[in-house]
């Protein structure tokens, strides 16, 4: 039935990962509601804002690595994970 969507294991894992992140963020929000604060970023952000900024910038980190070099994509992934976590903590 889902054949037309042409699923692959890597893309399915990617969407499951995004889904899990959203579930964890929802639980975190219910347990400890976010407070808007200003960190390293020039604007005051909530936890959700920082996640959005982190994910969007990670996409561009991946595109920059793919477009400018032949480096393994896992490097971009590793940098992105560290970047998103740092942003969530100190952003």
């Amino acid at each position: 039935m889902m054949n037309w969507m042409a699923w692959t294991i890597p893309t399915a894992s990617f969407f499951v990962g995004i889904g899990l992140i959203l579930i964890v963020m929802t639980i975190a929000e219910l347990k400890r509601p976010t407070i808007e604060r200003k960190g390293l970023l020039p604007i005051a952000t909530t936890r959700g804002d920082r996640l959005f900024i982190g994910l969007l910038s990670s996409a561009f980190i991946h595109l920059a690595v793919i477009g400018s070099s032949d480096t393994d994509i896992w490097w971009a992934f590793g940098i992105s994970v560290i970047w998103v976590l740092s942003l969530l903590r100190w952003g």
């Binding site: 054949n3 037309w4 969507m5 042409a6 699923w7 692959t8 890597p10 893309t11 990617f14 969407f15 604007i43 959005f52 969007l56 996409a59 561009f60 595109l63 793919i66 477009g67 994509i73």
Partner: protein, 291 residues
Amino acid sequence: MNKVQNNRAWWLVLPMFVLVAFSAIIPLMTVVNYSVQDIFDQNTAYFVGIEWYQEVLRDTRLHDSLLRQFTFSFSVLLIEIPLGIAVALTMPKKGWQSSLCLILLALPLLIPWNVVGTIWQIFGRADIGLFGWALNAIGVDYNYTANTVDAWLTVLLMDVWHWTPLVALLCYSGLRAIPDAYYQAAQIDRASSWAIFRHIQLPRLKSVLVLAVLLRFMDSFMIYTEPFVLTGGGPGNATTFLSQTLTQMAIGQFDLGPAAAFSLVYFLIVLLVSWLFFTTISHMEKDKSDG
């Protein structure tokens, strides 16, 4: 007093969520899936990893289209936003004249995009079109099918004609929402028309302008039909914008994988620029109200 928490209203969002899922999320997921595969038909696809991304990110044809697209979108914004504000400021405030102006302004917005392209294609022709004929009659060598500058000017003029009314209508509604008390206070202070515009009208227009800038940016960044009908992307590739390059790739060459990879890059650029516009303008507003 403790506020009663009732989250049942969230169920009201469900129909919208289902609609967005079918119209945006599921198609987007499919595009992600296509972007990492070489698609031959519905049952034959090979996983190629990031190969298509490498190909499209290093393709100079796409770089040129992207540059043209940004130039077009920013030119459109630079012309349409100030012009829309100016039109809204000069419109009659009440009476039958204001209704007439509103109807006349809304007319270009009601015309289908391909018809707009056709109108301007004929309008700009030197033999039968009023615009092209008139320019040539006064000695301007105008030919949008052969000259790059003429083609660009015609595409820009067409977009300004088609979409400035939207900006003007949004600004008009914003201006009508300003209470008379503000103008009365300005009159007591003997404020000039410029001071009224700068300190009353423009700040109160900010929220509609955010909407206008976002709508016009996203729309102009995804423009396809009008330039396609008007110039067909020519002369050469002078007016070939991103969506046309993408369509050529996906439908003309049936390169679904690279087209999907490129669509995602395109989507991310639109998302980033829209977010930057929205955040910058909403924070400017917030800083002002805090300060």
